[in-house]
Amino acid sequence: MSEMLFEIRDLRLSFADLAHKPLFGAAPRIEVLKGLNFDIPRGDVIGIVGGSGSGKSTLGRAMVRLLDVDSGQIRFDGTDISQMDEATLRPLRRRIQMIFQDPMSSLNPRHRVATLIAEPLRLHGFDQVAERVDFALSQVGLPLAFRNRYPHELSGGQRQRVGIARAIATEPEFILADEVVSGLDVSSQAQVLNLLEKLVSDMGLTLGFISHDLSVVRRLCKTTLVLHQGKIVEQASTQALFDAPQAQYTRDLLDAIPLPEVTPGWLD
């Protein structure tokens, strides 16, 4: 068992720019991740922040291998998974889960809640699936009666809890949460954040928390990584980063957050 759960080495990823594809030949590439290096120790809660186009979601999807990388290494528990094929990867998927931004589109509208939560359990050959589904539901604070509901019959916050239940069902070591509270009202946002905090401490999870909202990251994360245009601008313990931001971009970001308190002259 390696001490670092994730070790990312010189990670590069680019997309084909189809808008500028010539009639013949390959489309030009747009570099999204430009050589990233960082580690995630076990038990860490790491905030990955940045603006749109910073590459934070791309990084997240590369780490859970929803996207193929150009080059570099993604070592999970000491094994490089960056070039692994899907079949070799499958047993590892039990240990690496993800919660998506929009639970409406990430929960198949044709399946009921119980089926959705049971899916990863069945695929990884768990026994006592029904009991485990009930346990996951109780862990995220949803009544068991929700088993037979369809996603569209739930509120936004409840749907996101189903997404969380599905992710924790297989008792993974790492969960990547991609902008999981940005679509929610502040009241459900607070509930979901408190739930994530509780799950992290109860289950000994390592959590990657992608967000554009620094206040939320400050609330939840132990370390924070700031991305800007595909590069790491700053990585530090959350407290150090917020108390004494080193990079100019981090300072600009902090300066631009409108806190809910009256500050005359803030806009000047």
Binding site: R61, V64, L66, E86, A87, R90, R93, R94, I96, Q97, M98, F100, Q101, D102, S105, S106, L107, N108, P109, R110, H111, E119, P120, L123, H124, Y150, H152, G163, R166
Partner: protein, 283 residues
């Protein structure tokens, strides 16, 4: 919004029941044609030619919808015609759907070289004029039920393949597919378990539409005498014969025409109705 949904749930879907009802009646009548038909559909009786339907003066019992110029019973011929029409609809529709949907799903979800091959094939296929294609096929294979069905499948699979491919591409980009992949499902499993149920409503609509089209195509080919042997009663051949007699015996034309119209309309409405009925969001 929730109330609107509940209201839609309570309301009986009239389009589904009306169209389904008509098709059910037609199917039962077609199956039971030997029991229901008052006459032999092929029996000619020149003494009983051009008898009007029963609500007009001069009709005779045993010929409720009148007779044609050869004295054949119109009702019996429509009933036996329904057997051929529905058989073609069912077999041709299902085969077209199966072929087109499978190729469309593979192209749309797997992408890559499979998509390149299937997409090029569709483009080339669609460049042939379909009517010419059908006539050519039947000329080569000879007339008969099998030829008609094969012609419909060969021509119309592209309709399914194109739409299903586009739909599978849209669904494939949704996060629930990514979520299933993270959960550990393989590509084939995702296609069957995740994509297919969401593409199914489109398939159902297209399938019923295709059944309607198959009925029309069969009628058109019978009309131009390219279908099965002229003796067998088909709606198309009845319409062709009725056209010549329109001035003195309108019922020979109108009865099969209305039956054909209602059937084709019912197929398309059935699809729309089923789509709404099986949509968990609307249900």
């Amino acid at each position: 919004m929730a109330d609107g949904r509940a209201a839609a749930k309570r309301r009986i879907n009239p389009r589904l029941w009306l169209s389904g009802g008509w098709l059910l009646i037609l199917a039962v009548a077609a199956l039971a044609a030997p029991l229901l038909a008052p006459q032999d559909p092929l029996a000619q009786d020149l003494f009983a030619s051009r008898l009007p339907p029963m609500w007009q003066g001069g009709s005779e019992p045993g010929f409720p919808l009148g007779t044609d110029s050869l004295g054949r019973d119109v009702l019996s011929r429509v009933l036996y015609g329904a057997r051929i029409a529905l058989l073609v609809a069912l077999v041709a529709g299902t085969c077209t759907c199966a072929l087109g949907a499978v190729l469309g799903l593979i192209a749309g979800y797997y992408r890559g070289w499979a998509d390149v091959v299937i997409s090029r094939l569709i483009e080339i296929w669609m460049a042939f004029p379909p009517v010419l294609f059908a006539i050519l096929l039947i000329a080569v294979m000879g007339t008969g039920l099998t030829s008609i069905i094969v012609a419909i499948v060969v021509i119309d699979w592209t309709r399914f393949a194109r739409v299903i491919r586009a739909e599978a591409m849209t669904q494939g980009a949704m996060d629930y597919v990514a979520s299933a992949k993270v959960a550990g499902r393989g590509r084939f499993g995702i296609m069957i378990r995740e994509i297919l149920p969401n593409v199914l409503p489109t398939i159902v609509v297209l399938l019923t539409l295709e059944m309607g089209i198959a009925v029309i195509v069969e009628a058109i080919l019978s009309f131009v005498n390219l279908s099965i042997s002229t003796d067998d009663p088909t709606w198309g051949s009845m319409i062709a014969e009725g056209r010549a007699a329109i001035h003195h015996s309108w019922w020979v034309l109108v009865v099969p025409l209305i039956t054909l119209f209602l059937t084709v309309l019912s197929f398309s409405q059935l699809g729309e109705g089923l789509k709404d009925h099986f949509d968990p969001v609307l249900r």
